[in-house]
Amino acid sequence: MTRFRLPAWFVLLLPAIIVLAAVVLIPLLLSLYSSFTSYRLTRPDSLYNWIGTFNYEKAAKSAHFWAAFGRTLLLLTIALNLEMLLGLGLALLVNQVTYGQRALRTIMMFPMMFSPLLVGFQFKFIFNDNVGLVNNALQSLGLSNTAIPWLVDGQLAFFSILVAEMWSSTSVFAILILAGLFAVPRDPIEAAKVDGCTPWQSFRHITLPYIMPFIYIALAIRSLDVARAYDIVQIMTNGGPARRTELIWTMIGRTGYVDAKMGYANAMGYISIFLAIFFTIYFFRKLNAARAELGMGG
């Protein structure tokens, strides 16, 4: 009698399959399933209460959800553009430095070394209306005699969050663009100078095409980062006051863990994943186009 044996390829792949199933596949399927139920963390049996697409319809009709979605998109657009411009400027300046450049590069990376939670606390203090640095400075300089409610007024709070976000992440752009600048060959730049280019024209026509792939890599990384922004906002305003700085993930987090409506939170999560996927695909397309432009293959 021969014993049944699993095929060798399957046995060899089994550890990987088990690990992947345990950490990715099962949670993914479970969360997808739960988004079609009225699952509440406080009532485990509600996991079996199938309600179809109710959660998705609810999210689609929710003004709060779309406000948070739109606000996330707005933060993403403004933060990414400003960080890109500042990072580019910073990289160009540091690239000009001949003495002490290593030290400068290290200093430039400091903000990346702090946990976003700490950045959130720090900027919460800086923008505090009573004891914060900003109001203190404005009042001492006589520029303002009122306590500006930086974290209370909706627009000011959005601005404050933007500043914190930019402080902590502009260096991502600066570092990646600097790496790009190091990779720009010297010859075409010199050829452009001889061809009659002003420094701005050589930058615009020669240097920029060379560093575009690096810019797109930074944009792709940062778009994912900002699309899932949670920590800084959670610390600085907790999405408030009165949802005025609510982003997708602070809303999802609150719905899932504070209100315990995990099914609904998962449904919103799946909708917002598309935002991230969209930006990733978009910037990778751009990246490949920019690389193909330089003859580096698509």
């Binding site: 060959p185 010859d187 075409p188 010199e190 050829a191 452009a192 100078k193 001889v194 061809d195 009659g196 280019c197 002003t198 024209q201 026509h205 020669i206 095409p209 432009e293 330089l294 003859g295």
Partner: protein, 362 residues
């Protein structure tokens, strides 16, 4: 079109001086080649003319303007780089037209100039390709095309052929020479290859360690090298040099062998002077395999150590006074190592250098 004058041009990097007061006048429409071993300052000199390196001292004049402080874009020059330096994201057409676009020429003017350049360099079929899709020789032609569309005052070439294989290099060399005849312009060309220098130049400038060693037409520097450096640098194989001492109108070489002082030097040497005798392989030939020698000659009986047949001639390695020298054999026949032959040294074509200064005694 313009002339280029360098007046006591100096380049320093901090305490390190790499170009020491170079003086050079390049005429309108002249093809001048700067040649020398690597690190001799030839490329730095070219880059100073282009404005890509600042000048530490002296004066550079293009046309009638002192250009010391002008950026490259105001010098009306164009340059061909060793690595082509094409713009990888632009098609051949855009590469060629880029400088004109920057100069805000009309599209019609650009098209006309680009088509003309493409015609001269036979690039018409590649106009829409990117540099990445071109071979080395094609890229080199694009680089030259980019230079000629602008009708600059001066063309600068920085070792433009050194990235090409030997066959293509010879071909492009001819194209550059033709190009010079077609577009009639002042060219300053840098190379480390003396063959390129000889074949292309109206005048050759031989540089070493930031100094000019000699300036002259290819034949002048070949026939009358100013010193032993030029003598060995120009010409292939390099000139044979043998140390000796003048004694009673003869040059006594190291192992006692002696040859007469060539007549043209008899009144330029003095008794006991340490000298270096120089002669090319073409002037030391086995009897019966030599060009007829008109004037005085010396006969030497020597053993061949090695032979290199080149087809129309054979290079023979032998030794005089313990030093290896090369001789040439016309109408060659097979020569076995160790075979003794009687060689004729053409004294009228010999050179004599002072051993101390290394300068020619001519």
């Amino acid at each position: 079109m313009a002339q280029v004058n360098l007046r006591n041009v100096v380049k320093r990097y901090g305490a390190l001086q790499v170009v020491h007061g170079v003086d050079l006048n390049i005429d309108d429409n002249e093809f001048v080649v700067l040649v020398g071993p690597s690190g001799c300052g030839k490329s730095t000199t070219l880059r100073m003319i282009a404005g890509l390196e600042a000048i530490s001292g002296g004066e550079i004049v293009i046309g009638d303007r002192v250009v010391n402080d002008l950026p490259p874009r105001h010098r009306n020059i164009s340059m061909v780089f060793q690595n082509y330096a094409l713009y990888p994201h632009m098609s051949v057409r855009e590469n060629l037209g880029f400088s004109l676009k920057i100069a805000k020429k009309t599209q019609a003017e650009i098209d006309q100039a680009v088509d003309e350049a493409a015609e001269i360099l036979s690039l018409t079929e590649y106009m829409d390709r990117k540099p990445g899709a071109l071979s080395g020789g094609q890229r080199q032609r694009v680089a030259m095309g980019r230079a000629i569309v602008r009708h600059p005052d001066v063309f600068l070439f920085d070792e433009p052929l050194s990235n090409l294989d030997a066959k293509l290099r010879t071909q492009m060399r001819t194209e550059i020479k033709k190009l010079h005849q077609k577009v009639n312009s002042t060219i300053v060309y840098v190379t480390h290859d003396q063959v390129e220098a000889m074949t292309l130049a109206d005048r050759i400038v031989i540089m070493r360690d930031g100094h000019i060693e000699q300036v002259g037409t290819p034949l002048e520097v070949f026939e009358n090298p100013a010193n032993t450096f030029v003598a060995t640098f120009i010409g292939s194989p390099p000139m044979n040099l043998l140390a000796g001492r003048v004694s009673k109108d003869r040059i006594v070489l190291e192992n006692g062998l002696d040859v007469p002082v060539p007549g043209q030097f008899s009144d330029k040497t003095h008794e006991g002077q340490e000298v270096i005798l120089g002669f090319r392989a073409d002037n030391l030939m086995p009897v019966g395999h030599a060009m007829p020698m008109g004037g005085a000659s010396a006969e030497l009986d020597m053993a061949v150590t090695l032979s290199e047949p080149l087809g129309t001639e054979t290079l023979l390695f032998t030794s005089i006074a313990g030093k290896e020298v090369q001789a040439k054999m016309l109408n060659p026949r097979p020569v076995a190592p160790g075979e003794r032959l009687s060689f004729q040294l053409d004294l009228t074509r010999c050179h004599l250098f002072d051993a101390q200064s290394q300068n020619s005694l001519r």
